[in-house]
């Protein structure tokens, strides 16, 4: 059986370098499997994060051959021949090896004003599938933070982090903004504190999202439009919040009644 060569970044906040590991290749493996075998046989202290090994938890983000990827969903046999480079995400400070300090994201999460629905009516809330589909798309986010990693506003500009929430949180704001039951207006906040205006729609975030969330088209661009409305026309916003579709189309109803 042939061998694989992995160049894995080793080091901490003070610096480091790539280390080369060679090991026999095995059928069907993903990058994370190979990292695990390196840990078990050659470098017990090689640091990486993972949990589910199924693309569901968003823990194992790293830059594989220079591109942000979930290590657990990247098949070795789909990478080009030759050594594979694995490095930590660049936008965040390094803790050790492939593990970065992603606390920036948890801080940004704290700034999001909570969901605020009206009191629950007798028998529960009613919402139509079609009205929540967009929100559900955003809620597929597994918080891998790879979109944050590629966004040039913070990737190359540490100083912007203080006033830029980043694509992961733009979809969170969009989700709440589009939620049929929410009553909070966060548009001023998104414009000012979250720095939506600094995004210049390069779409790099959408390209890396492992959940295929259309971050730019479905969240950022509509949010930019709504934020503009907010500055000029509060009535238009109210109208949009109130004019909800009351009924699913027959096709939708049939599809979801299964």
């Amino acid at each position: 059986m042939s061998d694989v060569t992995m160049n894995v970044w080793r080091g901490d906040g003070d610096g480091g370098d790539f280390a080369e590991y060679t090991l026999p290749s095995q059928e069907g493996e993903v990058v994370l499997d190979v990292i695990h075998r390196i840990q078990a046989t050659q470098a017990g202290d090689l640091a990486c994060r993972w949990n589910c090994k199924a693309g569901k938890c968003g823990s194992c983000s790293a830059e594989v051959n220079g591109k942000p990827r979930l290590m657990c969903m990247t098949r070795m046999d789909q990478l080009p021949e030759g050594p594979v480079t694995v490095a930590p995400m660049k936008a965040f400070p390094i803790i050790r090896d492939l593990v970065t300090d992603v606390s920036f994201n948890f801080e940004m999460a704290k700034q999001v004003p909570a969901f605020a629905p009206p009191p629950r009516p007798e028998g529960g809330y009613r919402m139509q599938q079609i009205d929540i589909e967009r929100g559900q798309e955003f809620r597929k986010c597994i918080e891998c933070f790879m979109c944050q990693d590629v966004c040039h506003v913070i990737r190359d500009h540490e100083e912007n982090k203080a006033h830029y929430a980043g694509p992961r949180f733009f979809i969170r704001y969009a989700e709440l903004e589009m939620h049929p039951l929410d009553t909070n207006d966060r548009r001023e906040l998104v414009r000012q504190k979250a720095g939506l205006g600094m995004c210049n729609i390069t779409k790099c975030c959408t390209e890396v999202c492992p959940e295929h969330i259309k971050i730019t088209d479905n969240a950022i661009i509509p949010m930019k439009e709504r934020v503009v409305d907010a500055s000029y026309d509060p009535v238009a916003w109210l109208g949009r919040k109130i004019l909800r579709r009351q009924k699913a189309s027959p096709g939708e109803a049939a599809a979801h009644g299964a």
Binding site: Q26, E27, G28, E29, V30, D33, Q39, A40, G44, D45, L46, A47, C48, R49, W50, N51, C52, K53, A54, G55, K56, C57, S59, M73, R75, I95, R96, V99, D101, V102, F106, K110, V112, A114, F115, P117, R120, G124, Y125, R126, M127, Q128, Q129, I132, G135, Q136, R139, K140, C141, I142, E143, L176, H179, A248, E252, A253, A255, H256, G257, A258
Partner: protein
């Protein structure tokens, strides 16, 4: 004396899966100083992986559903070994807990009239699982996480707890652990501790569980003097991936069968029709036509045998493979491609579609999947008081997968997520009341703290010892072969011998590198819990000389009514951690009151 960082709280919650998060919300809402501690980042706990849904008798799809029927399904699925009071509270309160999630921002799939949609799952008489496609756990954990963040609960992430610490009177008063990023030690003192550490699948080779599921909570509770019950009851989920090898064990949600997928052997036979146990015969279809009618309308036929409780299906698959009717990689075929349209499959089961496409190169809308049993869930756990989650040692409260009793000998799909909500909340209440009533500052014993720290750091002191990764692999191989889905007395005795040897070797583990984010060392500190957990499962399996639910003995192939009346209780009265002496004895299960017992008579 080793140095450490200290924190003081009213209530600390160890574990930030569904149960821990829900407990934290409750304690915080009651105004207590609350801390939430977890081994991974917030939002990554195992709960995130749950797929199919959360069970609650809301009656949105079948109005004839009720808590009584949910209760009955749960008890029968658990082969009547369940704590009836837990099963009752669970069935009664689950609907409110699910609706509450909606008020916190969850977006469940909808019925045409705008209510929460519910899907079919094994062992549930009616479509009962609220869900979001096949990523219900993600929705649940994110909703709870966002709620916890908005309430400003203090969260300690990537902080591994090594052990609980009692005060001089033996009241649990805190916990000791370390920060994974730095390896620095940390001690929490608290008036009440909630354990919500989840499962234990990492002692087996093929498992759907994440690295965190090392049974830490089970072991820590036992070491602290609490009772564990029915540890032999481990659920092997019938459908895990079997190929490629590197993902063997990864879960294939029961939702595939709930949504119309069927199991076939290499001869193309829908073999589940040949495995319908007496207990389920009256309500199970006896022909493919009838089963298919049932999918369309539950009153037009009896339910399909593919959706029998998991233990039944897992054993059937095991038998088919052993009889030489398996698939090329040692499983059986799960086929939804010939039964549902590609759009339907992609919309209802998007993660499954991706999982197979990306990891196995299989398009499930065109080809069958290969599946086989995988270690999935532990029904056994810490013995608790149903209403409050109180363990048998004072100061300790327990919820979620680490607690025992709720699911008896076998858990129904969807009943875990609801369990987390119902009993997470109750343990949060129990701990809050206890903390509020406890006077004086908690004083965790300094000697115990120092002992835990010394033990944890010992692998750095040794040179030339055992490799923790190798030991872990050997433990997994051993448990898989000797304490797997089908067990025998001889093999269990052998397993106990092997466990002695592994324990001696674990005392010689050595690790390289520093303390900061060192997975080799982290694994070394997980080993004691895994060894204790494995021993408890093996002891229970040896002593339960019958087959019931998730526990199958080849040498005692049927259920024994006498064993049906007892929990096997394990405790470690004289301490000693992983080296301590475990006592195991049967104790009568709590007796069901007549008004609940009646529910079972009607059904026969």
């Amino acid at each position: 004396m080793a140095e450490y960082e200290s924190h003081d709280y009213d209530v600390i919650i160890i574990g930030a899966g569904g149960a821990g998060l829900r407990a934290a919300i409750e304690a915080k809402a009651r105004g207590l100083r609350t801390a939430l501690i977890c081994k991974s980042l917030l939002g990554k706990a195992h709960t995130v992986m749950a797929e199919g849904g959360v069970a609650a008798a809301m009656g949105n799809v079948y109005p004839e559903d009720s808590w009584q029927i949910h209760f009955r399904d749960t008890m029968r699925g658990g082969k009547m070994l369940n704590n009836w009071r837990m099963a009752q509270l669970h069935a009664q309160e689950a609907p409110d807990r699910v609706q509450e999630l909606e008020a916190w921002g969850a977006l469940f799939d909808r019925t045409p009239d705008g209510r929460i949609l519910q899907r079919d799952f094994g062992g549930h008489r009616f479509a009962r699982l609220a869900h979001v496609g096949d990523r219900t756990g993600l929705e649940m954990i994110r909703t709870l996480q966002q709620r916890v963040v908005s309430m400003d609960v203090d969260v300690f992430m990537e902080c591994k707890i090594l052990g609980l610490v009692a005060d001089a009177e033996g009241v649990v008063s805190g916990a000791v652990g370390y920060w994974r990023p730095t390896g620095e030690m940390v001690v929490f003192s608290a008036k009440a501790v909630v354990l919500a550490t989840g499962g234990a699948g990492k002692s087996w080779k093929y498992t759907s569980n994440s690295w965190e599921c090392t049974g830490d909570g089970h072991a820590m509770a036992l070491w602290a003097g609490a009772d564990l019950i029915d540890m032999e009851c481990v659920q092997f989920h019938p459908t895990g991936m079997v190929w490629p090898l590197s993902v063997r064990g990864l879960l294939v949600t029961e939702g595939v069968r709930g949504d119309g997928g069927v199991l076939r052997n290499s001869e193309g036979t829908r073999f589940m029709f040949n495995y319908v146990a007496e207990m389920f015969r009256a309500e199970t279809a006896d022909s493919e036509e009838e089963a298919d009618r049932w999918y369309e309308d539950h009153s037009a036929g009896r339910r399909t045998p593919e959706l029998l409780p998991r233990d039944e299906v897992a054993r059937a698959i095991n038998t088919e493979v052993k009889a030489g009717r398996g698939s090329p990689h040692g499983g059986v075929f799960l086929d939804i491609a010939t039964r549902r349209s590609p759009e339907y499959i992609r919309r209802r089961l998007p993660s499954m579609y991706h999982q197979f496409m990306e990891l196995a190169g299989v398009d499930i809308t065109a080809e069958p999947m290969e599946v086989g049993p995988t270690c999935h869930y532990i029904m056994g756990g810490v013995r608790v008081e149903a209403d409050t989650g109180a363990a048998t040692v004072p100061g300790l409260f327990v919820a979620g997968e680490v607690a025992g009793g709720m699911h008896g000998a076998n858990r129904l799909g969807g009943n875990s997520l609801s369990d987390l909500l119902v009993f997470g909340r109750r343990a949060g209440m129990g701990a809050s009341d206890y903390a509020a009533g406890r006077s004086g500052a908690p004083k965790p014993d300094e000697g115990e703290i120092q002992h835990s720290i010394t033990e944890a750091l010992a692998p750095f002191e040794r040179t030339d010892g055992e490799n923790p990764y190798e030991l872990h692999q050997e433990l997994q191989e051993m448990m898989q072969t000797l304490v797997g889905i089908i067990r025998t007395g001889d093999e269990l005795e052998r397993a106990l011998g092997e466990l002695d040897v592994l324990r001696d070797r674990a005392a010689k583990v050595t690790v390289g590198g520093g303390r900061a984010y060192n997975p080799g060392w982290n694994l070394a500190t997980d080993l004691p819990a895994m060894l204790t957990l494995s021993r408890c499962v093996t002891l229970g399996a040896r002593d339960r000389k019958e087959s019931r639910g998730g526990h199958t003995r080849e040498d005692f192939p049927t259920a024994d009514p006498e064993f049906g009346k007892v929990n096997l209780v394990q405790r470690q009265p004289s301490g000693g951690g992983v080296n301590g002496d475990i006592k195991i004895a049967p104790e009568p299960i709590p007796e069901m009151p007549p008004e609940l017992a009646e529910l079972f008579e009607e059904s026969h």
